[in-house]
């Protein structure tokens, strides 16, 4: 056992002496996980609001207040643009909609509630009805919130009352009795606004006019909680694949350079040598996985559903690829041929098995072929532990397949090696 450890330590030293190897087994998988994880999560910013542009053609205090209410909303991300720019952005689908506040919006109640000539225009793709409807609700809410500010402004309200009084007095089509009723009401308003102090007036309209309470309930998990739960198993697989390929090439290199011969004539059996190679690959993969795991936890906040199943899945996956490494190392007699064959096999396995993109992105007709790729079973087992919430029985299927592939490949590799050495 001691000799197996020395062999493994030597192989790890040799592997780590090459910066290229370090990149392929450690750097590349981490980059892969981060890059695709970030893509799937919309650049990694977490949930964001609907992006809209506002065009303020009114430039009144009311429009300013209205826009600030829109900006306060968590559901919206507001940018300020000119009309043409805003329409162009909508056309190019860079924003969900453009909200144009026309001139006169801040002129008072009449302008705000004018049905014939609305002062707010929404420009949006007609096919995005749901977003448009959602936006109208948010705009109405902001409008009432802005108005609530005006209701508490004594001067603004007195101006409005004075304006209404003039309109009634000049109107010829209103019955005198009814006109007097309105004028009496306006007198009462005048008295009210003259007598009430500012603080009491504000209290009357304090808070949102339209508001909803929200209870946050996380849905039951039937899928990944973060995109990194998808990319992390892929990254682990890439780390293991890179490691297996590198070690397969190192075995061929040993055989061609004569160091394998030195091992063969030493006081150790072939089994020790192969176990040493396997152990080196296993230890390196474990180290890489630990780094990946820490990185995923620290930087990507990736939750792992069942840690013990995760360890089980990870061991089975590594066992499988250590076996495959042994087989790949016997496919060529030179570094170039083994390296070429190794990477070609790995790429096909990764493509078919969902190592490059999640299986649900693949065409339906292609998906059954993924069953022939150990990458699929590796990812499946890891996903089972990370977010699929597999039971032990469910976990056993991919794990047993991985162990079987690993064992068969290892035995075939050892057989090939014996045959080639004789």
């Amino acid at each position: 056992m001691k000799k197996v450890f020395f062999l493994a330590a030597k192989d790890i030293r040799v592997l780590m002496s090459d910066r290229g190897n370090i990149f392929w087994v450690l750097g590349f998988p981490l980059i892969f996980a981060f890059f695709f994880g970030a893509i799937y999560s919309d650049a990694g910013d977490g949930p964001s609001g609907m992006k809209i542009a506002v065009v303020d053609e009114d430039n009144s205090s009311f429009s300013t207040s209205y826009i600030s209410k829109l900006e306060e909303s968590d559901a919206l991300t507001v940018i300020h643009l000119e009309r043409d720019q805003a329409l162009e952005q909508v056309r190019k689908s860079k924003i969900a909609a453009a909200v144009i506040i026309k001139k006169g919006m801040g002129d008072g109640f009449e302008a705000i509630f004018n049905r014939d000539e609305p002062k707010i225009e929404i420009a949006a793709d007609p096919s995005r009805k749901m977003e448009s409807g959602y936006l109208q609700g948010l705009l109405a809410k902001a409008q009432f919130e802005a108005l609530s500010g005006n209701f508490t402004d004594k001067n603004w309200m007195q101006d409005q009352v004075s304006q209404w009084r003039e309109e009634i007095e000049e109107a010829n089509d209103i019955d005198t009795k009814d006109a007097n009723l309105y004028l009496d009401l306006f007198d009462s308003y005048d008295n009210f606004f003259n007598d009430i102090n500012d603080q009491d007036l504000k209290m009357g309209f304090d808070g949102d006019i339209l508001n909803f309470s929200q209870t946050n309930l996380s849905r039951e998990s039937d899928g990944p909680l973060t995109p990194f739960q998808i990319t992390f198993p892929q990254a682990i697989l890439w780390g293991i694949l890179g490691c297996a390929a590198t070690f397969a090439i190192s075995i061929v290199k040993e055989r061609t350079s004569g160091t394998f011969q030195r091992l063969l004539i030493g006081p150790i059996g072939k089994a020790h040598i192969l176990a040493g190679k396997g152990a080196a690959c296993f230890i390196t993969c474990s180290f890489i996985m630990c780094i990946q795991y820490i990185g995923a936890k620290l930087f990507f906040k990736m939750p792992v559903g069942n840690l013990s199943f995760f360890v089980l899945a990870y061991f089975c996956t590594i066992f499988c690829f250590v076996g495959l490494m042994m087989l790949i190392s016997t496919l060529g007699r030179t570094e170039q041929s083994a390296g070429g064959a190794g990477w070609a096999i790995i790429m096909i396995m990764a493509m078919l098995g969902g190592g490059m993109m999640p299986l649900y992105f693949m065409p339906v007709w292609l998906r059954p072929f993924s069953n022939f790729s150990p990458v699929k079973w590796g990812i499946y087992a890891l996903e089972g532990a990370i977010w699929r919430n597999f039971s032990l029985i469910e976990m056993s299927t991919p794990c047993l397949i991985l162990l079987a592939i690993g064992l068969a490949s290892f035995l075939l590799g050892v057989y090939n090696l014996h045959r080639q050495e004789d």
């Binding site: 350079s257 011969q261 030195r262 030493g266 006081p267």
Partner: protein
Amino acid sequence: MIEVKNLHKKYENIIAVNDVSFKVDKGRTFGLLGPNGAGKTTTIKLLCGIIKPDSGTVSLNGRTDPTLIDVRRSLGVVPQTLAIYEELSAEKNLRFIGRMYGLDSQILNSRIAECLEIAGLSKRKKEKVAKYSGGMKRRLNMVCSLLHEPSILLLDEPTVGVDPQSRNLIFNTIEKIKKQGRTIIYTTHYMEEAERLCDTVAILDHGKILDIDNVANLIKKHGGPSHIEAEFEEIISDIEKIKKYVDNTEIQFENNIIRFKTSRPMESLAKLNQSGLRFHSIKVQTANLEDVFLNLTGRRLRD
């Protein structure tokens, strides 16, 4: 002691080793001399059990299975191809090999220091082997096999592609090992190496041993006559007179020089001296292993 009996190994249609038998007594150095492809490396591989013979037996210190761990522990092999890790330093290479042989760390440290000294690499022990010259790598390759102080040493063309300085260092090392009473098998296609280092030499060609003996006997048996070139101070005027003093009828005359072949060069020269002619210079080219190989196979060693 090494004893090989009727060893036979065939690769598909090529017979690599054909009925090879020899015996090397303890403390003796045995040379396998032959051109490339003669079967030297295959014989070494059969001796250390890397490959199995189709028939025949190998006995190392009385043990017939070279794959046994304790047999291997007594065996040191210097492979023809460099068997060192270029990514590691000389010291780390030696340390790894020492650990494989189960050397105690204290012994290992002193053996590493000794081996680095022998190889002339003490000052560069921390450098990666990849930065070494070809000669330095060869020297390290050799001392890696001496680290565990084997009683039997198999050297497979250890001087291939080596500069003269490194070659001398390797020769000196082997001579020191010889004096320590170790049994050595040395394969080469350089007859000078076999002549210098080996007590007994086997001439190997196409997997078959053509003859085994010490160098002197081989030359005596197969080397043919020595070539003599004698230059006199005056031009030879009476050729017939000279012929009387030379046993060989095939004499070449050229002004004041004569050339002839003889199996007894010293006796011939003494007789020629009686002719009364005064020698200006004498060149005697005695037969060597190259001639032995040529006479046995009709080809030169490096053909």
